[in-house]
Symmetry: C2
Subunit: 361 residues, 2 copies
DNA sequence: TGAGATTCTCAAAGCGCTTTGGATAATGCA
DNA sequence: TGCATTATCCAAAGCGCTTTGAGAATCTCA
């Protein structure tokens, strides 16, 4: 049933019905109630295709999921992020359009989304250090928000990011305090902005303690379980292995744990591990004492925030840019302890305190 | 720029331009080339909102991601599935609309998608044993495909499923052959169709060997790491622990491995584990000898197949239903071995052969 | 060369909604 | 009661595309 027929059936003009349904003030409460009721009863729902053409609004937000030919991998945080964002879209009556494209076609995909007029805004996932998509969306005039930031892009834009640098310098400092001096870093893919910031945070803390960064202890790659396994194996098999490792995600941390197990090395005991925990719904690092000592920041919450910001800029007249910087608190779990060589040196009470679970914010 | 302006600029009528762009035969090749070229040069792309209204086609497939208030968890296979399906949609010029809703609102969400006319078809994820969505979509007249099946729903419909029963009876038989008699099952959530089929396959194999199903060895729940840990702990802490465990996904298998490790029990040695592996991109069970002995079936491929089938039924005139039943081959990895009590009884050569990696199809 | 067939092009009518500008009915105030 | 407001409602004009039905142009072949 279309508007014409529906309005005719209930003895009103299409105009009035449309106004009643869309909450315009020109229609009396009594009429509005009657319209809503009849729509429910007769099963009338306005056709969105027509509404979108008439209003010029797509009522849809675009997300692009790029797949690279080599890696063929979907970012494991993607689904949690989208769940968070999608929740907010639903609440505001927006739809979510997801385009899966080969990564070399990504720019074209954004352009397409914009010119075809199927979205009112877009989200940029996984920004690189110098990400061309930011400029592109700016030129296209499509409102957008970045999940993360792009260090080498100047100009203002909307973003929601974790304070990666701070989180990783905090985590590194924590390990340094425990007496660790050789600390490995299993980081995300080179070129990703978050990976760079984390590397810097790690480097900052080491530098503050006068420790040189050993390139043999720093890895970058896609965060799979196997990657965590392989890098941990490599580090621990070297002639000068680390006593502690920082890992950028809980997924490679699974691989690291496997490596430690295979080598018969005690986690949190002989080798300490601190992870960054995105609080993935199927992989909770929880319990009285979490398994891993971790800097945690919910990626689902980041999704919600991105959505809120984007919807705000789409609806809002004011043209200001909005940012959110999330702090990732460090929570001590079972995976960290005093550096082996230090164990007898460290004050017993202090060591005990450091092992106790607590938010160190 | 719109069609009117564009066609005027290149000295043609809107009709001709539209036909040229949409590949109708009424336009000469020369004209078509000229139009395509000019569109490229002048940056004209037809407005999809208008096209959708005019054609009555949404050129969009709907997926619904339900979130339950209690679990708050996103199915970890979701992103890989969607990546597979999305790939195919893109190739065919279809968009993918993703609705994130509270699970109690799911039926309403499908209804909404259909009546608002924003999708031409939909995919049903994670069907229950008796799933009302199948009937609902049938009534709505919306083409759909189910990823999985629903045992207690009669009537024909499109689906793509893994032969779960066969996979799990195979896996169970494999363990029985290795001499295991007490075999645990860490299964998916009760009520899910796939979980029921897997339970049946497991039960079939046990029954064929005259073994009663011990309810204390069967668990159902959401497949998180912690779930795998907790159930494994519980089983191995009982007075009559299993010597082998079947696990429905690699995620809880991580938890099981953690439990074994914590208890100091050797994986594949003292306790054997067989998993079902969805071949998640960030969690590959690979290597010369895979870590886990597993029945494997790529969920990404299932996504591709679902998309193909759905697009086919949307475009195709013929009203036949289509099914795909995927067989999950068993591949032997490092996580299985002869049952401890049997070890001295089993012929050495045979045991060796069973440990060797191979597809047993 | 011209009739018929073929190829190409076009004007105009939707698709189902929103929204403007104006008409009508109801209400308030003197 | 009469006039000015105000509260309701409506007709009609788009939104930008597709597609029908038909006309103009070109081609084919006797």
């Amino acid at each position: 049933m279309n508007l014409k027929e529906f309005s005719h059936r209930i003895g009103l003009s299409p105009t009035t019905v449309s106004r009643a349904l869309n909450g315009y003030p020109e229609v009396s409460e009594r009429t509005r109630r009657k319209v809503l009721e009849s729509a429910e009863r007769l099963g009338y729902t306005p056709n969105s295709r027509a509404a979108r053409l008439a209003t010029g609004r797509a009522m849809t937000i675009g997300h692009i999921l790029p797949l690279s030919k080599e890696h063929e991998m979907v970012n494991p945080i993607f689904s949690d992020f989208i769940a968070g964002a999608g929740e907010q879209y639903s609440k505001s009556g927006y739809d979510l359009s997801l385009s899966v494209v080969q990564d070399e076609d990504e720019a074209e995909a954004y352009r397409d989304l914009a010119t075809r007029g199927v979205v009112d805004g877009a989200v940029i996932h996984g920004p690189k250090v110098e990400d061309p998509r930011i400029r592109l969306l700016g030129e296209l005039g499509l409102p957008f928000v970045v999940h993360g930031r792009s260090s080498r892009v100047q100009g203002e834009y909307n973003w929601v990011d974790v304070n990666n640098r701070r989180a990783f310098s905090r985590a590194t400092e924590f390990l340094l305090d425990l007496g660790h001096r050789r600390i490995g870093l299993i980081n995300g893919l080179d070129g990703m902005d978050f990976a760079t910031r984390r590397l810097n945070g790690y480097g900052d803390a080491l530098a503050a303690h006068g420790i040189d960064r050993d390139p043999e202890l720093v890895f970058s790659g896609e965060m799979t379980e196997n990657y965590g396994f392989a890098t941990t194996m490599q580090m621990l098999g070297s002639r000068n292995p680390p006593t502690a490792i920082l890992i950028s995600s809980i997924i490679p941390a699974m691989g690291a744990r496997r490596a430690l197990h295979d080598l018969g090395i005690g986690l949190g005991d002989e080798v300490s591990v601190v992870i960054h925990d995105d609080d993935l719904s199927y992989f909770r690092n929880e319990g009285d004492i979490p398994i891993f000592t971790a800097t945690r920041s919910s990626v689902r919450e980041a999704g919600r925030l991105c959505a809120d910001i984007l919807l705000d800029t789409i609806r809002g007249a004011r043209d200001e840019r909005r940012h959110v910087l999330l702090e990732a608190d460090l929570t001590v779990g079972q995976s960290t302890g005093p550096a082996p060589a230090m164990r007898h040196l460290i004050d017993r009470d202090r060591a005990e305190a450091l092992r106790r679970p607590q938010a160190l914010t």
